[in-house]
């Protein structure tokens, strides 16, 4: 996938993911403050706009950086800041390369997950986006090809999202609910799943 294809894929995925804003708002309202809907819808709009403004000469890493900046400033919530940092960290793994493939996508996601864990002081099991993201990275890497990788990543993220229901939130707003967070599904993990599901099949 070259830079032009990457732009098209991101544009398609971000446009589609905005359609889940209401679901994400409701999940976040139950566990937090309900602004995840706004983060995703205004963030998606900002990303699509930023990509539209990029010239033809950009690398995939440049695209990821532009997405990071747009997403960070649209609605500077926890998710926005974590995702922006994650995209910047991921973009570093791509350096100047002109193409993205299954392996480099997995590297990107791994760096993204590491960044979130570091900045958020969080790990798998804390009932956050990491519970969907981390298993998705391995699933993508271990798959025979890109198409199978996307399906496997979605399946892994789906499982991760489901499992967040049983967990008690350890990080962010939801952690203030203490025991009462058990039984509710993590909105950030769900957002990541919806994003993966919105990604055009390779």
């Amino acid at each position: 996938m070259n830079a032009a294809e990457l732009k098209a894929a991101i544009t398609a995925a971000m446009t589609a993911v905005a359609g889940h804003a209401d679901e994400l708002r409701d999940l976040d309202a139950a566990l937090g403050d309900g602004d995840l809907g706004i983060t995703v819808s205004s963030g998606s709009k900002a990303v699509v706009e930023a990509i539209g403004k990029l010239g033809d000469e950009v690398t995939p890493a440049d695209i990821a950086k532009a997405c990071a900046k747009a997403f960070a400033n649209a609605n500077p919530s926890t998710m926005a800041a974590l995702v922006a940092g994650a995209l910047l960290a991921g973009s570093k793994t791509w350096a100047d390369s002109a193409d993205v493939d299954q392996a480099s996508a997995a590297d990107f996601m791994q760096a993204a997950a590491d960044s979130i864990g570091k900045r958020g002081k969080s790990e798998v099991g804390d009932k956050t986006i990491l519970d969907a993201l981390v298993p998705a990275v391995s699933a993508l890497r271990d798959a025979p090809d890109a198409a199978a990788g996307l399906s496997a990543a979605i399946a892994a993220a789906e499982r991760g999202v489901r499992e967040t229901r049983e967990l008690q939130s350890k990080r962010g707003r939801a952690s203030w609910l203490q025991e009462r967070s058990v039984g509710l599904q993590d909105p950030g993990a769900t957002a990541f799943l919806r994003f993966l599901q919105s990604w055009p099949a390779p």
Partner: protein, 333 residues
């Protein structure tokens, strides 16, 4: 929706314009972005700057506490959401008088991440920063996890103490230590009686049937530790004050400052009914209220409800509370 607004998306920018029009002698926007406000005389050379910030909708929090003897600057987010790291960084530069900058704000994920990023940017420009988080909401985490609690109205005490320390010329380390000690010795609990409606969303942030109360509610409507039928003012004061006194380990002979804060729609009369009971509770416990504040200090738009904050005092903290301060929203003389 019962709001006096124009375009909901311009709400924040418009009330900031109003503030700047009303108080040009006390506040200024140092650059093109009105979302960053600093005291009119910023930067003050040789003094520690204090930057706060967070979502809008809590006036006088946060921008109300920018002034002499208080914070030096503020970065203002949309309603209930964080300012960006760039805005925090702009505020940092505008208040930097060469003695370092303290970041003092409430413990919310989005704010923490954006202030942390701003601190990285500041470091690149050789501005030293330190961070102290408001973590006073007793209902949000057990005592062992005090540093994970959310920050609510009690941050006022940290502003007042740290601001007075910065004004008298304390070093960044000293100002940060004073702020941290104020936070460590502050506990708050709130009660909500009705939700708020975000101007942009147009619908309530949470559901709370008429006649019910949420004890331990956060200032964005975060759930508390008990929901049930509305009780009497005295019962409510007991429910709020008890856990705070316990958390701070208050005993006979201790001295405190008390803040009874309205969340927005609750009349001042009702806050005094609450204060009446808090004063009784303190007297019964042998605790002396050296200073009290009753009014709206940290609101949630038009939420009905109140919170009680207690700061355990020592001589220094009492002196810092009594030190002069002057902002458009708060004055101590």
């Amino acid at each position: 929706m019962k709001k006096i607004i124009n375009d909901p998306d311009r709400f924040v920018d418009e009330f900031i314009e109003g503030i700047l029009l009303a108080h040009p002698d006390k506040l200024k926007a140092p650059g093109d972005d009105n979302r960053i406000l600093v005291r009119a005389d910023a930067p003050v050379a040789g003094r520690v700057g204090i930057v706060t910030g967070g979502g809008s909708g809590h006036l006088p929090l946060f921008k109300g506490y920018v002034g002499t003897g208080l914070c030096s600057g503020v970065a203002i987010g949309n309603v209930f959401s964080s300012p960006s790291s760039e805005q925090v960084f702009e505020a940092t530069k505008a208040v930097n008088g060469g003695a370092g900058v303290l970041y003092l704000y409430g413990n919310y994920g989005g704010d923490v991440l954006n202030f942390d990023l701003a601190a990285d940017m500041a470091e690149l420009e050789d501005i030293e920063t330190k961070t102290v988080l408001g973590t006073d909401d007793v209902a949000s985490q057990p005592k062992e996890r005090k540093s994970d609690r959310r920050g609510v109205a009690g941050i006022f005490f940290a502003y007042k103490c740290a601001g007075a320390a910065a004004e008298r010329g304390d070093s960044l380390d000293e100002v940060a230590a004073i702020a941290q000690a104020a936070v460590d010795n502050t506990g708050t609990m709130g009660i909500g009686l009705s939700p708020t409606i975000l101007p942009a969303a147009g619908k309530p942030t949470f559901e709370l049937p008429d006649g019910e109360m949420e004890i331990g509610i956060g200032i964005h409507g975060e759930p508390g530790i008990h929901r049930g039928a509305l009780e009497s003012a005295d019962e409510i004061a007991d429910r709020l004050t008890g856990p705070i006194f316990e958390d701070l380990g208050l005993a006979s002979g201790d001295r405190v400052a008390v803040l009874v804060n309205g969340l927005g729609a609750t009349p001042l009369e009702e806050l005094y009914v609450l204060y009446r009971r808090v004063a009784q509770i303190a007297a019964d416990a042998g605790v002396t209220i050296e200073k009290n504040y009753v009014g709206e200090y940290a609101t949630s738009l038009e939420m009905a409800g109140a919170s009680i904050s207690v700061l355990k005092l020592d001589d220094e903290r009492l002196a810092l509370l009594n030190a002069p301060a002057d902002s458009p929203f708060f004055r101590e003389v």
